[in-house]
């Protein structure tokens, strides 16, 4: 899994140097590549050089090719080494046109990767997988590491097993174990054991097989993934170990419930349901799980017991059921479980009402909550800076007063001529003004004014931001957009319905008929038609060119061939004249093209609706989240605003 680069080239058993090309896939142990000059072969290159035992196993496997196995598994054909000689991987047949089985069983990827695959297809894949594993078992192999990425599925429902070098095989009297396993496919009796130390049995494989079959038939749900009703964490490993099959008859006793919206075990035939119960029962631990052959037979049986849903042709279900389980599930979840490959189905699939219920289920976040911001007038304590400022100004004012009062005693108490006294008084007044200017200059409250302004603006800004993010505006806008999209979808559906079987509007055909009707056989000198024959023709309802057609003519007894052909020729000639007059036939609007366009439009709207729904959900969450996270900021800004307003008031006194 590490992003390290592959070696530039590798060497096979016979010393051939092979260059790696495109990477086909990536697994836990290594990556798989195409080869530069052989398109039928793939090379698996491990991240770490192989142990001698592993290399020996690959050599042994390459030596035990079997035809029946080769058809269904990418069996190793040879060992690969680095130029240094260290074994690093293996060669195997390349599987093309196949995809990992997990792409098939999750509805989401199935629609994209296996368009047209319905439940019949899924059952067939499960049956084919069972046959493949039965073949391995009958060749005395054990798959051992059964898992979701070891099975590739073709578009024809045939499967190929890959990752064969991890099979458990015996050759030349030696057993090669499998050192790995995926816990969610591991039977209870092996949970927590060291894989490199246990010999696996087909009964172990049969557990993993049952899990894979379950995933495939039950829309990607794991049989042990349910809602745990007890306390604590319930991992799948633990649930397997404690036999808590979430769909089983005694699931309640195991305090586990199948997930909401998941189908019940009843959607498969009782025979198949019985196999699941047996595969996941505690009693089957040591032996007795259904074998791969039993699975194949029961699944083939199920395939013969299917019925097509009356409402949706893409829905196939077990015929023992009253209603269609897929309709119910699609309606409840709004998820299209099966896609139809071509035409009409794709858009018909979209359940606008179900979808809209989901839109409406998203709760409107409501208006931004009124923040409890303290009015705080008068209650705010003046900040220390303002205190200091005011004290200093007080002092300065005092000094100024004292300074400007200096000439006063002279003016009042020293005996001076009157004009001189006046001069001193004037000086006192002048000094007062000078001192006041000085005091003002030295105690400029500008910073407090600026601060107050800044804080007011900041509060404004944060309040707007709060309105935008915590208010319902964004939600409402998105919701309105969804309303518009819904209307557009419904309009597109109507357009589609109208473009359905529009009967040939007789426009041009009727015009032709009227045109031909103006040419009476009687009036015309039709080459080779003697007027003597006209009454006979008229008695058979053939009077004008419009009446001339092969079928009708053939119904006239004893009409001679020449006459018949001449009449037809005449009509064709007139038709050509009509064509020449009427101009070229306008290409009839191809219904298929119209239909396709309308459908594409509808699909585009559906895509927009889906993203819109997600956006709406997101906006709702973001809005609620913003209320939590922004509250503190608004409060803080408000506090700052109150403070600087109070400060400003204090300094401007």
């Amino acid at each position: 899994m590490s992003p390290q680069d592959p070696p530039p080239f590798v060497v096979d058993d016979r010393g051939r140097v092979l260059r790696l090309a495109r990477k086909l896939g990536q697994g836990g142990e290594g990556a798989v590549y195409e080869l530069e000059d052989d398109t039928d072969i793939a090379a698996k290159i491990h991240h770490q050089p192989l142990t001698p035992l592993r290399a020996e196993k690959i050599r042994a496997m390459a030596a035990m090719q079997s035809e029946s196995v080769a058809k269904l598994a990418a069996w190793p054909t040879g060992l690969l080494s680095l130029p240094s000689g260290a074994p690093i991987g293996l060669l195997m047949p390349k599987v093309t046109g196949h995809k990992d089985i997990h792409h098939l069983y999750s509805p989401k990827s199935r629609r994209a990767e296996f368009p047209g695959a319905d439940w019949r297809f899924l059952i067939r894949v499960a049956a084919n997988l069972s046959r493949a594993i039965a073949t391995i078992h009958e060749a005395s192999g054990v798959v051992a590491d059964v898992n979701h990425s070891g099975v590739l599925v073709g578009q024809d429902a045939r499967v190929r097993l890959i990752d064969c070098d991890s099979f458990q095989v015996s050759g030349q009297g030696k057993m090669y174990l499998c050192e790995v396993g995926v816990p969610t496919f591991t039977p209870p009796e092996l949970q927590g054991l060291l894989f490199s130390e246990v010999a696996r049995t087909p009964n172990h494989d049969n557990f993993g097989l049952a899990v894979l079959v379950f995933l495939t038939l039950f829309m990607g749900r794991h049989p042990y993934a349910g809602r745990y009703l007890g306390l604590g964490e319930m991992t799948i490993e633990r649930a397997i170990g404690e036999s808590r099959f979430a769909y089983g008859a005694d699931s309640a006793a195991h305090q586990i419930e199948r997930p909401p919206g998941a189908p019940s075990l009843g959607i498969v035939s009782p025979a198949v349901a019985g196999l699941f119960e047996r595969a996941f029962a505690r009693a089957s631990r040591n032996d007795g799980r259904p074998t791969a052959r039993e699975w194949a037979a029961a699944l083939d049986g199920l395939e013969g017991q299917l019925r097509q849903c009356a409402f949706s042709p893409a829905h196939w279900h077990f015929n023992g059921l009253q209603g269609c389980p897929w309709c119910r599930m699609e309606a409840a979840t709004g998820v299209g479980l099966f896609s139809t490959t071509v035409s009409s189905g794709a858009a018909a699939h979209f359940d606008i009402d179900g979808f809209w219920r989901r839109v409406e289920a998203i709760e409107h976040p409501g208006g931004a909550p009124i923040l409890d911001l303290p009015e705080g007038k008068g209650k705010v304590r003046i900040s220390p800076a303002v205190m200091a400022f005011r004290q200093q100004r007080q002092m300065h004012r005092l000094y100024a007063l004292v300074l400007s009062a200096l000439p006063l005693p002279i003016a009042l108490f020293v005996s001076l001529p009157l004009p001189a006294r006046g001069l001193f008084l004037l000086a006192a007044v002048g000094l007062y003004y000078v001192a006041r200017t000085l005091v003002r200059a030295a105690n400029d409250p500008a910073i407090f004014v600026a601060k107050a302004q800044q804080d007011t603006e900041r509060l404004e800004r944060i309040r707007t931001e709060w309105q935008n993010q915590a208010g319902p505006g964004r939600f409402d806008a998105k919701r309105a957009e969804l309303d518009r999209l819904r209307a557009a979808w419904i309009a597109a559906r109507e357009r589609r319905e109208q473009s359905q079987p529009a009967p040939e509007s007789g426009g041009r055909a009727a015009a032709l008929r009227r045109f031909l009707d103006t040419f009476a056989i009687e009036d015309q000198e039709v080459k080779g038609v003697s007027s003597a024959r006209v009454p006979l023709l008229e008695s058979f309802g053939i009077a004008t060119a419009a009446d001339v057609d092969a079928d009708r003519l053939d119904s006239v007894p004893k009409l001679d061939r020449h006459l018949r052909d001449a009449l037809i020729e005449w009509r064709l000639e007139l038709e050509r004249r009509f064509e020449a007059q009427a101009g070229p036939q306008p290409a009839p609007p191809d219904r298929e093209v119209l239909e396709r366009e309308a459908r594409d439009a509808q699909l585009r709207i559906e895509a927009a609706l889906r993203t819109g729904l997600q956006d709406l959900q997101e906006i709702q969450k973001q809005t609620l989240f913003a209320r939590l996270s922004m509250k503190v900021r608004v409060e803080e800004a408000h506090r700052a605003y109150l403070q600087s307003a109070a400060d400003l008031k204090a300094v401007s006194r």
């Binding site: 993934a225 490993e237 979430a246 219920r357």
Partner: protein, 223 residues
């Protein structure tokens, strides 16, 4: 069959899980978008996020299993709630504001808790969530409560919390918040970091649910 059990009610919101019932591997990114991140740091982080999305998209199993959520701080904002990478649109971040790390962690942990509750309610198995915090500074708010929540979560295996410091981040403060040793990003190798994160999540999402996955060596970290 087909009896009363089929009439059971199905809650809304279960559709994403019906569509894709694969086990989930949630990863929450807590990203510092304070003033000091502005410039080359945030640019590289943005590139890194785009790389992250691409790297995840190249892994078809991770595409169905990994879920990415994004919370930024400076100010604390939820940019993406948990979503599979096909729906994850990497945000374009810009740096402004302070570093309210404590609030971001508290909000993020709440998101993780809610997501886990949704998984449980819908019977979706999940891997231990990863919370990945990237910062170039020190918290400007009270982070002590957040640190306690992280200790608690790590102890009960509720999640794994990783802290990554960029350039002059306060590594001592990070070490007090995170139980795991915080790592220092070497230079601005955000892209390497996110390629690493993507492959780590890829291997976690392939592992067993309760299994400890050995971490890949973080080549982007400075000793």
């Amino acid at each position: 069959m087909g009896g009363a059990g089929d009439l059971e009610q199905i809650p809304f919101g279960s559709s994403e899980f019906a569509d894709n019932p694969e086990p989930r591997c949630p990863c929450l990114l807590l990203l510092d978008t304070s003033e000091s991140m502005a410039g080359a740091r945030i640019d590289e982080l943005n590139h890194g996020l785009a790389t992250f999305q691409r790297a995840l998209a190249a892994d078809s199993l991770a595409m169905k299993r990994v879920e990415v959520g994004v919370v930024t701080f400076g100010p604390v904002q939820l940019l993406n709630d948990f979503q599979t990478p096909d729906h994850f649109r990497p945000p374009l971040l810009s740096g402004a504001g302070d570093t309210p790390m404590g609030a971001a962690i508290a909000g993020g942990l709440e998101m993780v808790r809610q997501r886990k509750a949704a998984y449980k309610a819908n019977g979706i198995p999940y891997f231990r969530p990863w919370i990945f915090m990237i910062t170039d500074g020190a918290p400007t708010d009270d982070w002590r409560a957040a640190a306690a929540m992280i200790r608690e979560g790590e102890m009960t295996k509720g999640f794994s919390f990783f802290a990554v410091g960029v350039e002059d981040a306060d590594m001592d403060a990070l070490a007090q918040i995170s139980v795991r040793m915080p790592l220092r990003l070497s230079g601005l190798r955000f892209r390497d970091l996110f390629v690493w994160l993507s492959s780590s999540l890829g291997s976690v999402s392939r592992s067993g649910m309760g299994q400890e996955v050995p971490l890949l060596p973080p080549g982007w970290a400075r000793a």
